[in-house]
Amino acid sequence: MSQEHNAYGYYPGCSLKATAHAYGDSTERVAEVLGLTLNEVADWNCCGATEYMSLSAIPAYSLIARNLSLAAAQGHQEMISPCSACYLNLRKANDSMAKYPALNEKVNRALGAGGLHYDPNSLHIRHLLDMMVEDVGYETIAEHVTKPLSGLKVACYYGCLIVRPRTDGYNPEYPMHLDRLMQTLGAKVVDFPLKTHCCGGHMTQISEETAFELIRRLLHNAADYGADMIVTVCPMCQLNLDAYQPQVNAMFGTNYEIPILFFTQLMGLAFGIPAREVGMGAEITSAAPALGKIGHEEMEPARPKRRDKKSLPMPQP
């Protein structure tokens, strides 16, 4: 990792200050251990989540663009967003302004009313996970592992917005970079076919019937594949799967107790950072029982599930 590459603009987003403070805390501690400097963009505002775009497009783009403008003006070339929804919105505003000159002109006219301006593509917006695996790299991360997560079976849950609609070279349906990162930490990764399916998003607030069914599917699938926990990269995913898990159980008569943690929390634990410092305990569905396993078992290679042992199988493609 080169010297000039370890300082980044940092856009935490609203969730990391509240519902996902565990994500924020663990990100900051892990960055510290890895020698990364995350410079929080001064006076950033909310990205509008999935709501503002439903009301009016130009104000929605302008709201987002204020952040881009501030970050660029504060001298950042790269801005890291740990929240997938923020990441999507920031990217969307930048990319749409770059692609559609008429939109760019209008948004900049609005920014002008606040004395701001933004040239599309002057800022490179990246998700925290992408920065971790691409810039820091698996090897460096492995070097920092002091307490491998041996024996812990995790389902890697990417959610939607980190790989769609902008894939950045990752597979939009079946990405593997979080899986590989978890293996680097010593965890056992289970296959998780729903890894990029939807957590329900804002539907938990609007239509429980819709949202809880989506959450149930994810919990069911993770349990089906024997996961001890689900690891996420998005505050919304974490909130929906974790906080609503008891209500989902009540609605469907199930009894899932699957802890939902942020990937940075597991990085922190593997790096030997004390649990409290990486926000452990903030989860509604406790991770304590699952974490009891850490450091007690040898790592085994992940084995695909449900392979028929009898008869000559045809070669796998």
Binding site: M314, P315, Q316
Partner: protein, 676 residues
Amino acid sequence: MMEDRIGVYVCHCGHNIAGTVDVEHVAEWAASLPGVAIARDYKFMCSSLGQELVEKDIQELGLTGVVVAACSPHMHEPTFRRACERAGLNRYLLEMANIREHASWVHQHDVESATEKAKSLISGAVRRVMELEPLEPFMVDINDATMVVGGGVAGINAALELANAGHPVYLVERDPSIGGHMAQFDKTFPTLDCSACILTPRMFDAGNHPNITLLSYSEVEQVDGYVGNFTVRVRQKARHVDTELCTGCGDCWEKCPAKVVDQEYEAGLGYRTAIYRPFPQAVPKYPVIDEESCIYYQKGTCKACEKFCPTGAIDFDQQDTEIVLNVGNIVLATGYDLFDPRRVPQYGYGRLANVFTSLEFERMLNAAGPTDGKVVLRDGITEPKSVAVVHCVGSRDENYNPYCSAVCCMAALKFGHLVKERTGADVTSFYIDIRTTAKNYEEFYHRLLKEEMEFIRGRVAEVTDAARMPGEEGKLIVQVEDTLIGKQRRIPVDMVILMAAMEPRNDATDVAHTFGIGCSEAGFFTEKHPKLDPVATMTDGVFIAGVCQGPKDIPDSVSQGAAAAARVLTLIGQGTIAIEPVRANIDEEHCSGCRICNNLCPYTAIEYLPDLEVSRVNPALCKGCGTCVAACPSQVITGQHFTFDSIMAQIEGVLYDTYNGNGYVSVEHEVPLATG
């Protein structure tokens, strides 16, 4: 010098040109240009009446040059050249002004500009035609041997037609055996006759025909020359088996200890040994050693095949050989690659064991295939109770290939029939549109409807093993919008077959480059004319047949093979062919012998004559590209038909100020030394 008397003919092309360009005005205006004796507009210049108009004027008015302002010269330049010739005017004193593709079609919404542009193009053509000189085409002999590249069903048929007509054919095949994809199939639609039963006799004939030299396991490396006289360098890869001694008995592959997945013939569904014959009916019958998987080549010991070979045919030292062929014509029938469905991750291929490609499934259905024709899951024993057939995988999709792959609908119906016949399983087709357009195809669709194959109109969203509700456990679930109902549905099945698209060969652009032909945007070889010349290419003497030109089924591939052969036979029958005299010519008196042109010529058509210390162009090899003309430091090379003066005159003509009527623009230029 004779006074210029140019005839200008402005074509309406029905509505194609006249709908945008004011043709009457343009013709009237053209009549006023210096040197123009007559200008007319006519509804269809290419009609016989249109041509007669030109012929009559040439004879009655004594025209010295003709400009036809119509379509691209691509199609009708030969038409009007013949008309000129019939009337006694040298065929090279004709110039086409393309006011359709270059004016009316590209400026459809701007009549004024299109009209002005047409005038400008005509002005350039008129100036150019005044500078043209009469030329005579070269006549060259046609070598009656033909090279056919690709031994699939299209190539085999082309080769057999030519050979049966009594002419020598070299059939060059990249793989160890001819047969192509058709040799992998079980049954063919819609007749359900056995693919091997109808193909292998043709393969045998091709392999044993006295007029066919089969070069299997061989690739074309370089092509030089021109129609009638191509020189081709072919590399025959080392089989490591002496075909003079080998009897094809099979002892070698039975004893070979190296078993590998057969990615070629078995499409990854079965195994083969390191020394192998792709399939029992292979032509030729000899095996090859695959060095990548051979234990001897990888580790230095083994040689089991050599020990057991009764005739001593194994030759580990055998090297690739280079063969030079002289042929008059070439038929390309290089076929296709199957789209890799891993690129559509939501369909789970490569991750979900019981998702198969259409080609894998063909092998599974084949009685001689890895499962002896039994339809079973990847575990090798379990018969599926329900099968989904997913259409349009990698086709009709801007993310992969926008074109329709043409054969998948019928193949899907065939699969439906065969699965039902062999297992009684429920079969559901997931389609966007069912396309059954050839003879007896729609009838086959009706037959499957009556056989109770299910049809759900909707492009499959995803195939997953993530069960959501009871009844889905342990199944593959096909999620789709049933668009005829307007509801999302989840259909649990045991097996999924992906109807993967036909794609151009991964090296199609390189092959096109080697043979000097074009590729479409998708990567299929470009035909000379999509309707009227579908098997010829823009390079004379190079023809195309089968799927390398675009997705098509077996009947169409066979037809194209025969059509390409017919086109070759026409040329062979003529015995000689006229070659365009558009060639470079070196003024040897002024040539300094610097030899710069020798190395620049892409066709190695310029040789240096050491005795005379000058360079000379071999007109038979020269393509008239003009590279040497531009490069010659002494400016003593002339491109015939594209002389310096004719090009400058055309530029001046095009720059004619059509808006102000100021007359000709004069282009400042240095006059070449030699012609000045």
